[in-house]
Amino acid sequence: MTTPYGAELSDVTVRYGRGRDAALDGASFTVRPGTITGLLGRNGAGKSTALALLASFRRPTSGTVRVDGADPFENAAVMAGVQLVRESGDVVGDSPVNDTIGYYSGVRPLWDADYAKALLDQFGIDPRKTPDALSRGKQSALGCIIGLASRAPLTIFDESYLGMDAPSRYAFYDALLEDYTQHPRTIIVSSHLIDEVERLFEDVIVLHRGRTVVSETADALRDRAVSLVGPTSAVSKLADGRHTLATRSLGGTTQLTLEGALDPEDVARARDAGVEVGRVSVQDLFIHLTQEPETLKEDAR
């Protein structure tokens, strides 16, 4: 039985060299044990660096990293419970897949060999082939299989399924959810395919320029804004005096994203006016939260 690990970054800064911008600049967030947490951010936001710290790939320049309450770096017991799957895959590229699987099964205390074999079959990976000889999609699938079969109390997928085609990605999401239900653990998923994976998230962390912008439950994040779709005049009337995050118009119909929630009276007014009130996707909120000032100016023109 796996006891899920929690994790925490406190005021963490990472610099890759003197004079270079900080990859993480005072970032702080908490990952609750036994949840699926989405770690989101634009390119260069510091996601991979944060995940590398949790997996003991490196030390922070300053600040504190805690996994299961302890500093993970060179901590054998903690490291045994953390599996990071990177996009490139940490495999023996020129030896059969069996060699890589054998290595992980040797090091990982909770490795499930039967499950790994079943997943290799499911994703059509011949274990006698070398990872270098596999297509990009199958290389990504191999990384995901390693992550799932590790049964690590903290399993991290860092853009690890980007090379997979859509059916394979959805098969992976299904396998992830099924295994998570049967073997509860803490899972962190970092991805640019937010629309696809946001249904998995219980918590969301958003990093931007090395800092934490959001660290809360996915529901709390979604409640930060509301979407109105309907006749332009009615939508505009409802939006009057509120902060508008985004506007899209087509013909006489407008879709507005407003900051904050609508009170029940406004919801009733909206319905009477033929305006559809809905939740905002995590992706839309993510775009708003990480939009640069220049982009906002262009949007306003």
Partner: protein, 253 residues
């Protein structure tokens, strides 16, 4: 401290990491070494036949050709531990256990490769004796004939250990410190490996540097002790390099 973090769990995980990395490095190297030995045996036989056809066999042929064993081990030392590093850490192993596994694999590789080499020399000794050819070898501290099985085994084992560790330390030094500082770190490593070789005599130092070690007077025990000391120095550098080595982003092997 949670149950998962008990000292017993940590010890068990360290042992798991050490044995897995040692096993992978040892058998991974031997997978390629098998082809290497086939090539070495064929080349030795072919060279012997050619010399016997056009000239006279004046001494051990295998001694020179098998002198490439340390270089093979140095190359494998460059490739194998560096290749295992991201896999090992991603798999939850510590750098500490990879270091221990590397040292264990190095000793096992040195001893096993030395054994095969000594056996090859013994076979040559038997063949040469049957054909009444001289089996003389380059002067070395621990042996003076191709039939000196145990002396050759010990000497080549120690030599192989130094070269494999040296290769690993150089590769990880460049990985960690980059081309400039990596080269600076490489200098003491090379000095220690060559120093160990000089202490043993034979190998690459027997011809060009043999005069420096006074191998005719250096006692066998001193040769062994100096060689072990040199390898210990390389192991220290390797440990310093590896113990808190940051892994690069998106590293695939």
């Amino acid at each position: 401290m949670s149950v998962a973090q008990s000292p017993t769990t940590a010890r068990a995980q360290e042992q798991r990491g050490t044995s897995t990395s040692a096993y992978a490095l040892f058998f991974g190297t031997w997978q390629l070494a098998t082809y290497y030995w086939i090539a070495v045996v064929l080349i030795s036989a072919a060279v012997t036949v050619m010399i016997n056809t056009w000239d006279e066999v004046g001494g051990s042929i295998a001694d020179g050709i098998l002198g490439s064993v340390p270089f093979f081990l140095a190359v494998m030392g460059v490739i194998m531990p560096l290749g295992a590093l991201p896999l090992h850490v991603a798999g939850g192993g510590t750098r500490r256990s990879l270091f221990r596994g590397t040292v264990a694999a190095t000793v096992a590789l040195g001893v096993s490769m030395g054994l095969v080499g000594a056996f090859g020399m013994l076979v040559e000794y038997g063949v040469f004796a049957a054909l009444d050819w001289p089996g003389t070898v380059e002067p070395a501290g621990l042996y003076d004939s191709s039939g000196d099985f145990f002396g050759i085994w010990l000497s080549w084992s120690l030599s192989g250990i130094g070269y494999f560790l040296g290769g690993a330390a150089v590769a990880l030094g460049y990985y960690r410190w980059g081309p400039m500082l990596g080269t600076v770190v490489m200098l003491p490593i090379v000095a220690l490996v060559i120093g160990g070789e000089i202490a043993l005599g034979g190998g690459i130092t027997s011809t060009d540097l043999g005069g420096l070690d006074g191998d005719s007077t250096l006692p066998a025990a001193a040769s062994v002790a100096l060689s072990l000391l040199a390898s210990g120095g390389v192991a220290l550098i390797l440990h310093r390099t590896l113990r808190d080595l940051p892994l690069r982003a998106n590293n695939s092997t």
